[in-house]
């Protein structure tokens, strides 16, 4: 996976270190190793690998990680543009 990189500087991922309790759930669930805990606090290791799946935010017990989750699929986004979010379906 190290070979694949997508567009830089686009991810909506945000980490509130003050709220972080260092539990490590975000590190466990991230499929790209974007987040890692060191010295009892989570940190963003490589923001541009974030695909905004939302796993970290869904499993953060402290509400310290925020991201606008979604599906990185052009066909789906096009449907949202044309038909609206309610009627769009994935493939």
């Amino acid at each position: 996976m190290r070979t694949f990189r997508y567009l830089s500087g686009v991810s909506t991922l945000a980490l509130d270190t003050a709220r972080c309790v260092g539990c490590g759930w975000c590190e466990v669930v991230c499929p790209h190793g974007v987040l890692a805990v060191s010295d009892g606090k989570a940190g963003i290791v490589d923001r541009d690998r974030c695909m905004e799946c939302g796993a970290c935010a869904a499993n953060c017990p402290a509400g310290a990680v925020r991201v606008t989750p979604g599906v990185g699929c052009a066909a789906y986004i096009l449907q949202v543009w044309l038909k609206g979010k309610a009627k769009a379906s994935c493939c």
Binding site: Y6, V10, S11, A55, A58, N59, V71, G72
Partner: protein
């Protein structure tokens, strides 16, 4: 009652039981589908020999129940305090392989599901781990085929026939659905522990904390790939960092690309028809001979764009220039277009003038760019913010390429 020996005329004439017609080699003799034959079976009653004379089918499985079909992947049932639970095989049968092929090629993808609920594998007991998965049959098969020699429970959620990761993204593989299936299956009476192993890719839809709050079962996220489950279980439910990362190998990329070709059936014929129609336009108005002479080349450029965007981009993904998929697609599509141009020039040097050749390359590049952009949905690393940014920039250019290609193709006829 005398059993049939195979020498009776009925048996001699009858084909296999699936026979549709009545005439066998005996000419006009009855087949097993005939009423007279049914009567003879009835008359022969206890002899147990079918009239067709073939080998006798085995007796009904003791697991058979009226109104239910016993699925081939179910090996037996295990009795639990919450009732009988099907134990599934860890090998894939021919039907499973056929089903996988249909799902991968696209035509058998919708409704390829297993019933949600509790299953077992091996000799599961009260201490066995509980593995949670989606009801997409491909997901279910991918899981059970890795579990040979392992005793475990499999809890299948109702994810509407969608795989784990996509279902988590859509919210059907959710905290609520986990809680619902735990209750519906009576899991708390089947196992003595209170632990669920979820695939890591279910995490976008599930809050481990809330599952624990709502049903008392704690969540452990297992590895991304089912193939790593045996090692994960052996290590006491611990995943190595490699087990926690998604991959996108050549084999994985090729497995998801045929679906793109399948989707193309909706527009490909219209595109070819349009290419032929545009080719008929010339100095003398519309001519059918121009359709035949020029049309195939533009249709070939359309096909080159399709192959480039739907097959070559997925295959060559790591080696293509640019981060944006639209750029990668345009690059491969332009090369595909150049190939068709050189074929056209090689076969028929005068067939396509220079402006027409430019049109062919633009068309192939535009189509391939659009299709490559759509492939973002099949990859495990593109973010929605990134895809949206790419689309806003690329789609006007793709539309412009299509218009310019049409214009220069028409111009090349004059």
């Amino acid at each position: 009652m005398k059993p049939l020996t195979g020498k009776e005329p009925i048996a001699a004439a009858a084909g296999p039981c699936a026979c549709g017609g009545a005439s066998g080699p005996g000419g006009g003799a009855v087949s097993c589908c005939d009423a007279s034959c049914d009567a003879s079976v009835a008359a022969d009653g206890d002899s147990g020999q079918p009239c067709c004379g073939g080998p006798q089918a085995p007796a009904a499985s003791p697991m058979a129940r009226p109104g239910y079909e016993l699925l081939p992947f179910v090996a037996s049932f295990v009795t639990t305090l919450s009732g009988p639970v099907p134990v599934v095989r860890t090998t894939l049968g021919r039907g499973d392989v056929r089903g996988t092929l249909g799902a991968r090629l696209g035509y058998g993808r919708d409704g390829y599901r297993v019933a949600p609920g509790l299953y077992g594998v091996g000799s599961p007991g009260p201490d066995s781990p509980v593995l949670v998965t989606a009801d997409y049959k491909l997901s279910f098969d991918a899981l059970r085929r890795e579990l040979s020699g392992i005793d475990a429970w499999i809890l299948v959620l109702d994810t509407r026939g969608v795989n784990v990761w996509c279902a988590a993204g859509k919210g059907t593989f959710s905290t609520g659905e986990v809680v619902r299936q735990v209750a519906a299956s009576g899991l708390e009476r089947v196992v003595t522990h209170r632990r669920l192993i979820l695939p890591q890719l279910a995490a976008p839809g599930v809050s481990a904390l809330k599952v624990k709050e709502r049903c008392g079962f704690s969540v452990v996220y297992g590895p991304v790939r089912a193939a790593d489950l045996p090692a994960f279980l052996r290590a006491g439910n611990r995943a190595t960092p490699a087990m926690r990362r998604v991959s996108f190998t050549l084999a994985e990329r090729l497995a998801v690309s045929p679906v793109e070709l399948y989707h193309a059936r909706k527009w490909l014929w219209w595109a070819v028809l349009a290419a032929l129609a545009v080719s008929g336009i010339g100095p003398g108005g519309f001519s059918l001979s121009a359709v035949w002479e020029r049309g195939p080349w533009l249709a070939a450029a359309t096909g080159a764009g399709l192959v480039a965007g739907a097959l070559l981009v997925p295959a060559l993904l790591p080696w293509l220039p640019g981060r944006a998929f639209a750029v990668k697609g345009a690059f491969v599509g332009a090369i595909g277009g150049l190939f068709t141009v050189s074929a056209a020039v090689g076969v028929f040097p005068g067939a396509v003038p220079v402006s027409g050749r430019v049109g062919m390359v633009l068309l192939a590049a535009g189509i391939s760019s659009y299709l490559a952009m759509n492939f973002t949905g099949s990859t495990p690393f593109t973010s929605p913010s990134g895809v949206e940014r790419e689309m806003r920039r690329a789609m006007p250019l793709q539309a412009a390429a299509l218009v310019a290609a049409t214009a220069s193709w028409i111009a090349s006829a004059f």
